[in-house]
């Protein structure tokens, strides 16, 4: 790994100040499960690593009146084993339990997964389907609240400024946490970069869909919501015919990379259609009788 300096700031204020002073030349380390491999591969070479991993007060899962708040430094293991998350957003528990491997999950953080912004970011589909927002802070400037569907710009690119750091992720409590589903399909059971990772959240009134959120990756330069599918589903009775229609349209909504890595674009399109239908059928099982 190349030469780099390291700073373990006493508190968030000191950390943000360092990020501001070294703007563009410093990187945040949280779990380090992406940062270290990237640095060792020579893909990034910051001059300074600012260690946020000690900020235990940024690792929390809180239930508010209308929303769930997760501190950015919460580890993926903590998300996966949280009863609050299981109760209010089982699709998030599910996605968390399939990220990487058990050891990776002990250090990797939910904020880090989003900030890294891999086109296949494991936590992105469920958080998009939950209509999550990202909350940030900066040293000299004000932080902001960013809707997750406006957060990703491209592979490993987000709207974050170079000295801007995610501190919290929030999402409104779903009306029906059980009418959701998350499926990750990879080439192996663990440590798999997904071929397709899909998350669906529905609000049903009998057999009629009142609200649909469908998010997938890595089928485009960023994790995406399938807005056309959501529009098609909303207000309609969900039946085989509608699902087939949506599955057909999904193939046009996604733009998997043409170069076949792990799977061809054609395969990903076919698989997305199948998993979309499966995910909706799974979600419908959660409808209260």
């Amino acid at each position: 790994m190349g030469d780099v300096e390291y700073l373990a700031p006493r508190d968030l204020k000191e950390a943000l100040k360092a990020m501001e002073e070294w703007k563009g030349r410093a990187k945040v380390i949280a779990g380090g499960t992406n940062l270290i491999p990237y640095m060792r591969a020579g893909w990034i070479s910051p001059e300074l690593i600012v260690d946020f991993s000690g900020f235990k007060d940024l690792a929390y899962i809180k239930e508010g009146n209308g929303a769930i708040s997760i501190g950015a430094l919460t580890t993926i293991s903590e998300v996966a084993s949280s009863e609050t998350i299981r109760n209010y957003s089982p699709i998030l528990s599910s996605a968390a339990s399939h990220l990487g491997n058990p050891l990776c999950r002990n250090r990797a953080t939910i904020g880090g997964n989003l900030a890294n912004a891999s086109p296949g970011a494991d936590m992105a589909p469920p958080l998009l389907a939950l209509e999550a927002s990202v909350h940030t802070e900066r040293g000299g400037e004000k932080g902001r609240e960013i809707s997750l569907h406006e957060f990703f710009l491209g592979p490993n690119q987000t709207v974050l400024e170079e000295d801007e750091v995610i501190t919290e992720i929030t999402f409104p409590k779903p009306k029906d946490p059980a009418t959701g589903s998350q499926i990750k399909f990879g080439l192996r059971n663990a440590e798999a970069l997904s071929i397709v990772n899909i998350a669906v959240m529905l609000e049903m009134e009998g057999k009629v869909c009142r609200k649909a959120r469908v998010a997938l990756c890595p089928l485009a330069p960023t994790p995406i919501r399938a807005y056309r599918l959501e529009e098609l589903l909303e207000g309609k009775r969900i039946d085989e015919g509608l699902l087939d229609e949506c599955a057909g349209i999904l193939k046009e909504e996604i733009t998997p990379r043409r170069v076949s890595i792990r799977a061809s674009a054609e395969y990903r399109k076919m698989l997305s259609s199948i998993l979309f239908k499966r995910a909706v059928q799974e979600a419908l099982k959660g409808v209260k009788a």
């Binding site: 390291y6 380390i29 380090g32 270290i36 640095m39 491997n101 058990p102 250090r107």
Partner: protein, 161 residues
């Protein structure tokens, strides 16, 4: 680079070490402290041969900066047997079940087995397989490893009447 003095408690012993900012925990354990039981496998966090416990949690030491665990309590494979040399039941089980072939994955597998049993004294086979999901073995096909860990499972003590 500006070197940092860090304090690590490793297998119960305190160490004060001067390290470079980019030094990885796996290399500090192996090269500075001579604890070569922890293996450097892939160096990318995918094989888990570098498994150690940091403050009770299993981590990939090849992806951990030594400076980032300053002050931590670390357990490596050398800390699993008792001080008098008596093997941990998990280590005995690996021997009994021929769960070691080349032995490269073994220290990490034993650590993960011990870690699981500390949290769940009667794991099912699927639970064992789930826990060692990140630990790769090229030799055994995992069957003997899972059997070894399973053999250490203890049913709940029967209630005395």
């Amino acid at each position: 680079m500006k070197n940092h003095t860090i304090n690590l408690t490793v297998n119960g012993e305190e160490h004060e070490i001067l390290v470079e900012p980019n030094a990885l925990l796996v290399n500090v354990l192996r090269d500075e402290l001579g604890l070569t039981g922890t293996k450097y496998g892939c160096g990318t966090g995918q094989c888990a041969a570098c498994t150690v416990l940091v403050n009770g949690e299993s981590v990939l030491s090849c992806l951990t900066l030594a400076v980032a665990v300053d002050g931590a309590d670390i357990v490596s494979i050398e800390g699993v047997a008792r001080p008098d040399g008596t093997l941990d039941p998990v280590q005995e089980a690996f021997l009994d079940h021929s769960a070691i072939q080349c032995g490269f994955c073994t220290p990490a597998m034993v650590m993960m087995g011990r870690d699981l049993l500390n949290k769940n004294r009667d794991p099912s086979e699927p639970e064992i397989r789930e826990h060692i999901k990140g630990n790769l073995c090229r030799c055994t096909g995992y069957t003997s490893i899972v059997r070894a860990i399973k053999s250490c499972a203890q049913k709940r003590e029967p209630q005395t009447e």
